[in-house]
C-alpha cells in the first residue's frame, strides 16, 4: 500500500512538473493546404526549435481541399492562418475580421498552362476554350484576370467555359480542359514529370502578366491585435518563422527532408518536396516579411474591379508585427 501511494505521489509530481516547464505562449497555425514545402519555413522552424527559442508552443494544422482556413479561425480553431489575400479580404467582408500581419510570399506562384496543340498562344485565343480553375478561395485571381481582359466566364458566346479543376494536372492530360491552373512549385512540377515543358506549353504566369494577387500571407483576427501580449507573441512567431524560411532556403535538402518527416499522411515525397523548396524560394523573401504596399493596392483594386469585395477594406493589414521584428 505504501508503495502504491509513493508511486502515485511520484506520478502526480511528475505530471504537475510537466506543465510548469511549458509556460510558453501556445499558438495554433492553420495552413492553407496539406503539409508540403509551400510551408517549409513554418515546418522547419518547428522542427529546428526556432519557435521554442522564442518561447512559443506552436501547433501546425495541415489544411486540405475542403478546409477553409478563414472558417477555422472564425470558429476559434486557430490563432493564425496562412491564406491568399483575395480569400482573406472576401472573408473580411463576410464578417470574419482578418488582418494581414506579415507577407513572406512576395510573388505569386500561380500560372495557367495550355498545351500548344490546343492552338492557344495568347490571351486572344481563349474564347471558346475550356479553362480549369481551382475554387475554394483560389478562384479570385483567375476571375480578376478574365475581368481585366473582358472575357465572359459564364459559358456564353465569345467567352470561356470554366471548369472546377481537381488539384492535379489530370484535366489537361485527359483533354477535359484546354488550359489548367498550376502552381509553379507544385502542379507545374507534375506537368514537367509528365513530359510537358516550355517547348510544348503556352504559359501564362500571373506575376509576369501583372495579374498576381498576394498569396500565402499570415492573418489573425482583428480583436486579438488590441492585446499587446498577443501582438508580442505574433511578432516572435513571425521572427521565428522567417528564421525558418531563411534556413529552409539555405538548406533545401534538409528542408525537404523535414517536410517529408512532418507530413503525417505519408503523401509527401522527397524529390517533389525538394523541387518545391527550389520553386518557393523564388517567391519568398526570407529577409523581409513586411507587406509590399504596391502589390497590396493592386490586389485590393483587382478585388474591387471584380466586385469580389464591395468597399475598400479599412484596417485589413497591420505593420505592428513586422515593425517590431
Amino acid at each position: 500500500m505504501k508503495k502504491i501511494i509513493t508511486g502515485l505521489m511520484a506520478g502526480v509530481l511528475a505530471l504537475s512538473a510537466a506543465p510548469a516547464a511549458m509556460a510558453a505562449d501556445a499558438l495554433t497555425l492553420q495552413l492553407k493546404w496539406v503539409t508540403q514545402a509551400q510551408f517549409a519555413g513554418y515546418l522547419v522552424a518547428e522542427a529546428k526549435g526556432f519557435y521554442d527559442e522564442e518561447d512559443l508552443d506552436i501547433t501546425i494544422l495541415p489544411g486540405g481541399p475542403n478546409i477553409a482556413p478563414e472558417q477555422v479561425i472564425a470558429g476559434g480553431g486557430a490563432d493564425i492562418i496562412v491564406t491568399w489575400m483575395a480569400a482573406g479580404m472576401a472573408a473580411r467582408e463576410s464578417g470574419v475580421p482578418l488582418v494581414n500581419i506579415a507577407q513572406p510570399f512576395k510573388r505569386s506562384g500561380l500560372m495557367m498552362i495550355c498545351p500548344t496543340e490546343t492552338g492557344i498562344t495568347s490571351e486572344a485565343d481563349f474564347p471558346g476554350h475550356t479553362l480549369g480553375v481551382w475554387f475554394f478561395g483560389n478562384e479570385y485571381p483567375f476571375f480578376a484576370w478574365m475581368n481585366k481582359i473582358g472575357l465572359a466566364t459564364d459559358g456564353s458566346e465569345g467567352g470561356v467555359t470554366v471548369l472546377q479543376q481537381s488539384f492535379d494536372i489530370q484535366p489537361m492530360i485527359q483533354g477535359q480542359a484546354d488550359c489548367i491552373s498550376v502552381m509553379t512549385y507544385n502542379e507545374y512540377g507534375q506537368a514537367l514529370d509528365a513530359g510537358y515543358g516550355p517547348d510544348n506549353l503556352t504559359i501564362f504566369n500571373y506575376t509576369e502578366m501583372g495579374n498576381d494577387l498576394l498569396e500565402d500571407g499570415l492573418y489573425v483576427m482583428e480583436d486579438t491585435l488590441s492585446d499587446p501580449a498577443k501582438v508580442d507573441a505574433y511578432t516572435r512567431f513571425v521572427r521565428a518563422s522567417m528564421k525558418g524560411w531563411a534556413y529552409a532556403l539555405e538548406n533545401p535538402d534538409e528542408a525537404a527532408e523535414i517536410v517529408v518527416e512532418m507530413d503525417e499522411t505519408g503523401a509527401a515525397e522527397f524529390d517533389h518536396q525538394r523541387y518545391m523548396v527550389e520553386e518557393v524560394s523564388k517567391l519568398v523573401d526570407a529577409e523581409d516579411p513586411a507587406l509590399d504596399m504596391a502589390t497590396y493596392d493592386r490586389t485590393v483594386q483587382a478585388l474591387l474591379d471584380q466586385e469580389i469585395i464591395t468597399a475598400t477594406p479599412e484596417g485589413a493589414y497591420t505593420t505592428a508585427v513586422t515593425d517590431g521584428l
Binding site: N66, S94, V96, S166, Q176
Partner: protein, 367 residues
C-alpha cells in the same frame, strides 16, 4: 380536460420561467415591450392550474413568444438573460400545446384530419424560431451558422442560381442516373433469378460494387465520362443499381409455392407467371428499393459534384460556397436539396400506393 403529469410539469416550467423572466426584466422595464407582454401572458396560466385554459391559448402564447423574441432581437449584441428565459418558456408552451393537442386527438375530442398536420408544422416552426433566436441572440458569427432569415433572404435573392443548380444536379444527373440504375438493377435481377450460374457470379460483384465509397468512384467516373453531368449520372447508376438488384431478387421469391403451382396448373409460361404473379408480388420490394434509391441518388450526385465539375450544380455550390464563406448560400442549397429529395421520395411513395393497392400495408391507408 384534466392535465397529465407531463403537461402539468411543462405548464409549471413554462409559467415559472416566464415569472422569473418578468422579475428579471423589471430593472430594464420598457426596453422590449413585446417580450414583457409575453411574460405577463405566459405567467397567467399558472393561476389556472386547476382548470387549465384551452389548449389553443397555449399554442397562441408560444407563437406570440416566438414573434415577440424575434421582433426584439438586438442588433450586433447578445440578448439579455431574461430573453433566454422567454425563449425557454415559449418552447415549453409549444411543447405543452403539441402534447395537449395529440392527447385531444387520441381522446377523440378533436378530429384527426387537419389537426394532426398542425403538430409537425408547429414542431418545424419551433425549430426555426429557436435557430433564429439562438444564432442572433448569442451573436453567432454568420460564417459558422447563419440565421434562417438570412438563408431565406439569400434564397429569394439567388433564385436564378438555385434553379440552374437544381436543373444541373437533379434533372440532368439524378433522374437519368436513377432511371438507368433502377432499370438495370431490375433487369439483372430477373436474369439472376432465372440462372443459378449468374446468381453465383453477379451477386458477389454487386455486393462489391455497393461497398465502393462514392468519393472513391467519383473521380474515376470523372476520368471516364468527363466533367459534365454524365459522370455524375454514372455515380448515381453505380449507387442505385445494387439496392434494386438485391430487393428485386428477394421480391421475386415473395410469391408462395402454392400460388406458383396454381399458375402451373393454368399452364402459364415462365413469362406469364413472371408478369402476372411474381413481379406484382415483388412490388413492395421493388418500391422499397425505389424509395431507398431516391435519396441515395441525390446524395450520390451532390457528393460526385465535389470532384471536377462545370461551375454549376448543387454539389459544386455547396463545396465552393464554404470556401468563399457564402454559408447562407450553402444552407439555401441544402434546403433546396432537402425539399427536392423529400418530394422525390413522396412521389415514389404515392405511385406505390396506386400500384400496390392490394398490399396490407397500403389497404390500411398508410404507405
Amino acid at each position: 380536460m384534466r392535465l397529465s403529469n407531463l403537461q402539468l410539469y411543462l405548464l409549471l416550467v413554462g409559467g415559472g420561467a416566464a415569472m422569473l423572466g418578468l422579475a428579471l426584466s423589471l430593472p430594464t422595464l420598457g426596453n422590449a415591450p413585446l417580450v414583457l407582454i409575453f411574460f405577463v401572458l405566459a405567467t397567467l396560466p399558472l393561476f389556472r392550474l386547476a382548470k387549465p385554459l384551452s389548449l389553443w391559448l397555449d399554442g397562441l402564447i408560444a407563437i406570440f413568444g416566438a414573434v415577440a423574441l424575434i421582433a426584439s432581437l438586438p442588433q450586433g449584441a447578445s440578448m439579455p438573460l431574461h430573453h433566454w428565459l422567454a425563449l425557454f418558456s415559449a418552447w415549453a408552451f409549444a411543447w405543452l400545446f403539441v402534447e395537449r393537442l395529440s392527447a385531444a386527438i387520441r381522446a377523440g375530442t378533436l378530429p384527426e384530419t387537419g389537426t394532426s398536420l398542425i403538430i409537425p408544422v408547429i414542431f418545424g416552426l419551433a425549430l426555426l424560431a429557436m435557430w433564429e433566436v439562438v444564432t442572433r441572440g448569442a451573436n453567432v458569427p454568420a460564417v459558422l451558422l447563419p440565421p434562417p432569415s438570412a438563408i431565406g433572404a439569400r434564397m429569394a435573392a439567388e433564385t436564378g442560381i438555385l434553379w440552374a443548380d437544381f436543373v444541373q444536379t437533379f434533372i440532368r444527373s439524378v433522374l437519368p442516373g436513377y432511371a438507368i440504375g433502377c432499370l438495370a438493377g431490375l433487369g439483372v435481377a430477373i436474369l439472376v433469378d432465372r440462372s443459378p450460374f449468374l446468381k453465383a457470379g453477379i451477386m458477389p460483384i454487386g455486393n462489391f460494387m455497393s461497398a465502393l465509397p462514392i468519393i472513391g468512384i467519383a473521380p474515376i467516373m470523372v476520368m471516364w465520362f468527363g466533367f459534365d453531368w454524365q459522370s455524375k449520372a454514372a455515380v448515381v447508376v453505380a449507387m442505385t443499381f445494387f439496392p434494386m438488384l438485391v430487393n428485386t431478387v428477394a421480391g421475386l421469391n415473395a410469391a408462395s409455392v402454392m400460388e406458383r403451382d396454381l399458375m402451373r396448373t393454368y399452364a402459364a409460361s415462365y413469362w406469364q407467371t413472371l408478369f402476372k404473379l411474381r413481379l406484382p408480388a415483388a412490388g413492395p420490394f421493388i418500391f422499397n428499393a425505389l424509395k431507398i434509391n431516391s435519396t441515395l441518388a441525390l446524395i450520390g450526385a451532390i457528393v460526385a459534384e465535389f470532384f471536377g465539375t462545370p461551375v454549376v450544380g448543387m454539389g459544386f455550390r455547396i463545396s465552393t460556397g464554404v470556401g468563399r464563406l457564402a454559408i447562407d448560400l450553402v444552407w439555401a442549397e441544402i434546403a433546396v436539396a432537402a425539399v427536392a429529395g423529400s418530394a422525390f421520395y413522396g412521389v415514389i411513395a404515392l405511385i406505390e400506393r396506386g400500384v400496390t393497392f392490394w398490399h396490407p400495408s397500403v389497404r390500411g391507408g398508410r404507405a
